[in-house]
């Protein structure tokens, strides 16, 4: 492997990593601002112009808080929980294609950390690892509320991974590829997958809410029933990691949804814009479009959070097993039939 290639990848990964942390950081501010706007308030506005430095202030506060580790807890696992949660949240973005190949400093650089041909499966693997952080943290706290939260998180994630996977199978029937780069390339221009797979997208969206533990599926941390759920016993930056992991997860799943269903970096009229802007700024514009889509999804996540009340646990299970899974299977059958009819048997 050439040394320039390693440096190029290293720089790119660092940039993406920093960017996802930055987006997650400002998602916390956006969440509070959007919550405020939806409730006729103004939200945090004292730290910096319009509250711009609020995330920094929150971060400093988290670091300065007293670190409490319960005496009856399993110390190693207690620390491993939030570490694992944030680690798995961060590595999810590795296979997402951020843009078309870009011409920079006389070189062609792929705007993707790695294009593995089973990109979707990688994302699934990482997402299902994410629940281990919550489970380990909740169990190691040695607290009934934490354990309840952990159990809920585990069973919820297992239940919703199935319809998510099934909805992806229907998508794969359309795309014929597991590589996210291929899927993004196929949606060139305005041929977005959401037009071919509206039901699949809906199922995927609902499951994404459940996987990221966002309202209306935030039963693992359910304040009204479980104090703080799996992070009841956590304080200081370990709590911060758990909360932060949720925002990074939200960012990554928004990126995945934008890539799989909303064309990723593609937008109508992109060929014209590419010929106008050249090989450097054209892909950059595509990247900006992708980020616009991601922000729209993040806004949607927050909008839903501050609108819809939490599901009851039996309702959650009913929705997952009795509605989403049959719907997803019906979607596969329907997609298969249509593909067979269009392509000939």
């Amino acid at each position: 492997m050439e040394i320039t290639f390693v440096i190029e990848k290293f720089v790119f990964i660092t940039v993406i990593f920093g960017l996802s942390l930055l987006v997650a950081m400002y998602s916390t501010l956006a969440e509070r601002k959007i919550a405020a706007f939806l409730q006729d308030r103004v939200g945090p506005n004292r730290a910096g112009p319009g509250g711009m430095f609020q995330p920094l202030a929150d971060g400093v506060k988290m670091f300065l808080k007293e670190e409490i580790i319960p005496t009856q807890s399993n110390k190693f696992l207690f620390i491993a929980g939030p570490s694992l949660a944030i680690l798995t949240a961060c590595i999810g973005s590795a296979v997402i294609p951020w843009g078309q190949d870009i011409q920079l400093f006389g070189k062609t650089i792929a705007l993707q950390a790695t294009d593995i041909n089973v990109g979707i499966l990688y994302i699934f693997g990482v997402v299902s690892l994410g629940v281990y952080g919550i489970m380990i943290g909740g169990w190691a706290s040695n607290n009934k509320f934490s354990l309840m939260g952990a159990i809920r998180a585990a069973s919820q994630n297992i239940s919703y991974e199935i319809p998510m996977g099934l909805s992806i199978i229907a998508l794969l029937l359309v795309t014929n590829s597991l590589s996210l780069k291929d899927i993004a390339e196929q949606q060139h221009g305005f041929q977005w997958n959401v037009f071919y797979q509206p039901l699949g997208f809906l199922i995927f969206l609902v499951c994404a809410f459940a996987e990221t533990n966002r309202t209306p599926f935030d039963l693992p941390e359910c304040e009204t029933e479980l104090v703080g759920g799996y992070h009841t016993e956590y304080s200081s930056m370990k709590l911060g990691f758990f909360l932060f992991a949720e925002y990074i997860n939200m960012f990554v799943s928004s990126a995945v949804m934008a890539t799989l269903y909303f064309g990723g970096y593609n937008y109508p009229g992109m060929d014209y814009m590419n010929s106008l802007l050249g090989p450097t700024f054209g892909p950059l514009l595509g990247m900006a479009v992708l980020f616009l889509k991601i922000f729209a999804f993040i806004f949607f996540f927050m909008w839903v959070r501050w609108t819809i009340p939490r599901f009851r646990y039996d309702q959650l299970m009913n929705l997952g097993w009795k509605i989403l899974i049959p719907l997803a299977i019906a979607n596969i059958v329907l997609t298969g039939l249509v593909t067979a009819l269009v392509n000939g048997f």
Binding site: L38, Q39, D40, R41, V42, W303, V304, T307
Partner: protein, 168 residues
Amino acid sequence: MEALSNRKKVLEQKPMNFWERMYLPAIFKGMAITFRHMFKPKETVFYPEVQREFSENWRGMHSLKRDEEGRERCTACGLCALSCPAEAITMVAAERKKGEEALYREEKYAATYEINMLRCIFCGLCEEACPKEAIYLDGPIVPADYLRKDFIYGKDKLVEKPLTELTK
């Protein structure tokens, strides 16, 4: 049992129909409502810079009043301290000396008069109890502070400014 009034309504809980079981129409309705609220005028009052209008009978910080000639009305009878349900008021009485007639209205006055603002519940019973109309809760909001001892307000903070200072 038979209802005496006709106001009772029996609500029937029907099983959810297909659209209700889909959840989606209800969700879209709710989200439309919250989206509309994004553009509504905000209710926030930016407190330290802007103060909300208070009602006529609002009870704030206490002030010890003076009479028309600028003499302190309080005679340290202690009725306010007795009436205080939070035991926030203490005072030490003293006798008026010769030559102090311009300062205190009657022969007895409060040498020290302290209200603990952390104990005070702003019920207004002290102003009701006062026979001399010497204490009123007509001041501003009691400001925040860092130390407990700073919340014990003495005469320096409670007594009204003399008339001469007010007219200046």
